[in-house]
């Protein structure tokens, strides 16, 4: 260690390893970080090219902005709630299956994850339209007299969002449940806990970490999601993402689009921080119980 030549050698090697990541860092800086900085700059620029807070004034005093924000949050909470309700039991079933069966079923569950978002959106359009398959089945069987409005509205958007996010929710929850020591469940059963009690007091607390990760992923991804609301919302569902697109492509208003983008980033950051704070609180309580 005391040898200065060796120390210089180690330093040189470190610098060399650091340099290996420079090309990747450079292109990420160019195509991801610079664009974000550019949005910030653009948000302060008027159409005349002067710096001002005019764009913020315009966007934040518009009712459209706030209704877009409400839609964004409704969509995110709705998607998360349904993913939790559908995904947690499915993860439990998969985790309790024999490994070979579970792997096979997981492959099917992952199929949508590997299908293009546009293919899936098209599939939902075909299924949900007024003369689509689901409405045809409903009216033919006499369950409903009139076709139901299932798409080009909030319902359709929510169905599409849940379909996209569910596999992403399922992965961490399934992983957490599969890692639970089966002896703990045997112990609970032998001490007389019913299945419901075991699920509530053993399985769910032990998979809380996975459910939490899944929830963060679903919520944060849904906040900025564009394709599904743009197509399945049919122009009637306008979260921040589609509002940004419209401001840019219809009104050519780069400044306002940038302010909306920054609003989206701020909301994401706030909710991310809230999730992390909640997790810290939860783990502390969990530790107190243990």
């Amino acid at each position: 260690m005391a040898d200065p030549a060796l120390a210089a050698d180690a330093r040189r090697e470190r610098r060399f390893f650091l340099s290996l990541s420079l090309p990747a860092l450079f292109i990420v800086g160019l195509a991801a970080i610079l664009p974000i900085l550019w949005i910030i700059r653009q948000s302060f620029l008027t159409t005349g090219g002067e710096y001002s807070l005019g764009n913020y004034d315009k966007v934040l005093s518009s009712g459209l902005t706030w209704s877009a924000l409400v839609t964004t949050l409704e969509l995110s909470f709705g998607t998360l709630a349904i993913c939790t309700l559908l995904g947690t039991p499915l993860a439990l079933a998969l985790a309790s299956a024999r490994p070979r069966v579970a792997n096979l079923l997981m492959a099917f569950v992952m199929l949508p994850l590997w299908t293009s978002i546009l293919v899936r959106t098209y599939g939902w359009l075909v299924l949900l339209r007024r003369d689509g398959l689901i409405n045809a089945a409903l009216t033919d069987s006499g369950l409903t007299a009139e076709p139901l409005p299932l798409v080009y509205n909030f319902t359709g958007t929510l169905i599409g969002m849940v379909h996209y996010m569910l596999p992403l929710f399922l992965l961490p929850v399934y992983a957490a449940m599969r890692d639970i020591d089966a002896n703990l469940i045997r112990a609970a059963a032998s001490m007389g806990a019913t299945l419901g009690q075991t699920i509530r007091t053993v399985i769910l607390p032990l998979s809380a970490g996975g459910i939490f990760s899944g929830s963060i992923i679903v919520f944060i991804y849904t906040l900025g999601f564009f394709i599904t609301p743009a197509v399945l919302g049919g122009g009637k569902v306008n979260p921040l993402s589609t509002r940004i697109e419209r401001t840019l492509s219809t009104f050519q208003d780069w400044g306002s689009a940038s302010v909306l983008g920054i609003l989206l980033l701020v909301v994401m950051a706030l909710i991310g921080v809230m999730f992390l704070a909640a997790r810290r609180l939860l783990t502390r309580n969990g530790a107190a119980h243990a």
Binding site: R14, F16, F17, S21, P23, A24, L25, I27, V28, G29, L30, A31, A32, L34, P35, I36, W38, I39, L86, P89, L90, A93, A95, S96, A107, F108, V109, L111, P112, W114, T115, S116, I117, V119, R120, Y122, G123, W124, V126, L127, R129, L133, A136, L166, M177, I180, A182, A188, A189, L195, I220, G224, F225, F226, I227, V231, I244, E245, S258, L265
Partner: protein, 263 residues
């Protein structure tokens, strides 16, 4: 996991019945598209009354769709060619440096996968507009490369963690320079992971739609961009044919990746 409860047959049936419905929900939209693509009718009838290949004809015979398919395949290939070498070098750097530097590099490289696509798309659009590069292949390509780098890292980092670095040490002490050590030892030993990384990078680009929608145009429109536009205007079974071809490509690629990983 629930074998401690052999008597709760009813709960188990309920759980599996519910799970079967959820899995059906997950697979339904992908599967419904396939029979539709072989329909002979202009209408979206299900099940189709007569079958034909006319929508495939329509797709493969259309200059616009073919140009978009070509653009997407070229972009996917270029993305893989750039993202995998860049990602590999970055992963070697992350693996060897360790500590805070590694965490920082990883954090920066992961940014594009956390920031919403719509923000990357409009930001990139602004930057490219200032350089008059909107609508060029280059603009979409850099966007796809930064989205593919995190995917490449997720595949390669665990592989490098298992890699025995003594081999590189040995090669170096025998006089091989770093380029030789990487090309002659690391790359051949990571063959399988690198193949996965190449295919995943290709798929990432093929599947990307938001950046394409904002940044590509005209001759350089990608397949997802064209599909997005036609989904908004009208939906005819041509899209079903495209979707089926598309899904078939993806399933083949995923099967290659998973079968390689097991062997």
């Amino acid at each position: 996991m629930l074998e401690a409860y052999p008597d709760n047959r009813l709960s188990r049936i309920c759980l599996w019945g519910f799970s079967a419905l959820v899995m059906a929900f997950l697979m339904l939209p992908t599967l419904v598209v396939v029979p539709l693509s072989f329909s002979a009718s202009d209408l979206l009838e299900f099940p189709p009354r007569a079958y034909s290949l006319r929508w495939y004809d329509h797709f493969f015979g259309s200059a616009t769709w073919m140009a978009a398919l070509r653009t997407s395949l070229i972009l996917g290939t270029l993305t893989a060619m750039l993202a995998v070498p860049l990602g590999l070098l970055a992963c070697i750097s992350i693996n060897r440096l360790g500590g805070k530097a590694a965490v920082a590099i990883q954090g920066i490289l992961l940014t594009p996968s956390i920031v919403p696509g719509i923000l990357l798309a409009i930001g990139l659009f602004f930057v490219l507009a200032a350089q008059r590069l909107v609508g060029t292949l280059f603009g979409v390509l850099v966007g796809h490369v930064v989205l593919a780098i995190p995917v490449v890292c997720i595949v390669l980092l665990p592989a490098l963690a298992r890699f025995d670095w003594n081999q590189v040490q040995a090669a170096r002490s025998l006089g091989a320079n770093w380029a030789r050590a990487i090309g002659g030892i690391i790359v051949p030993q990571l063959q399988i992971s690198l193949l996965s990384a190449i295919l995943m990078a290709f798929l990432t680009s093929l599947d990307e739609s938001v950046i394409s929608i904002f940044v590509s145009s005209g001759q350089n429109s990608t397949l997802p961009k064209l599909m997005f536009i036609s989904l908004r205007d009208q939906i005819d079974p041509t899209i079903a044919a495209i979707s089926t071809v598309w899904t078939a490509i993806v399933v083949v690629v995923v099967l290659i990746v998973t079968s390689r990983q097991k062997s």
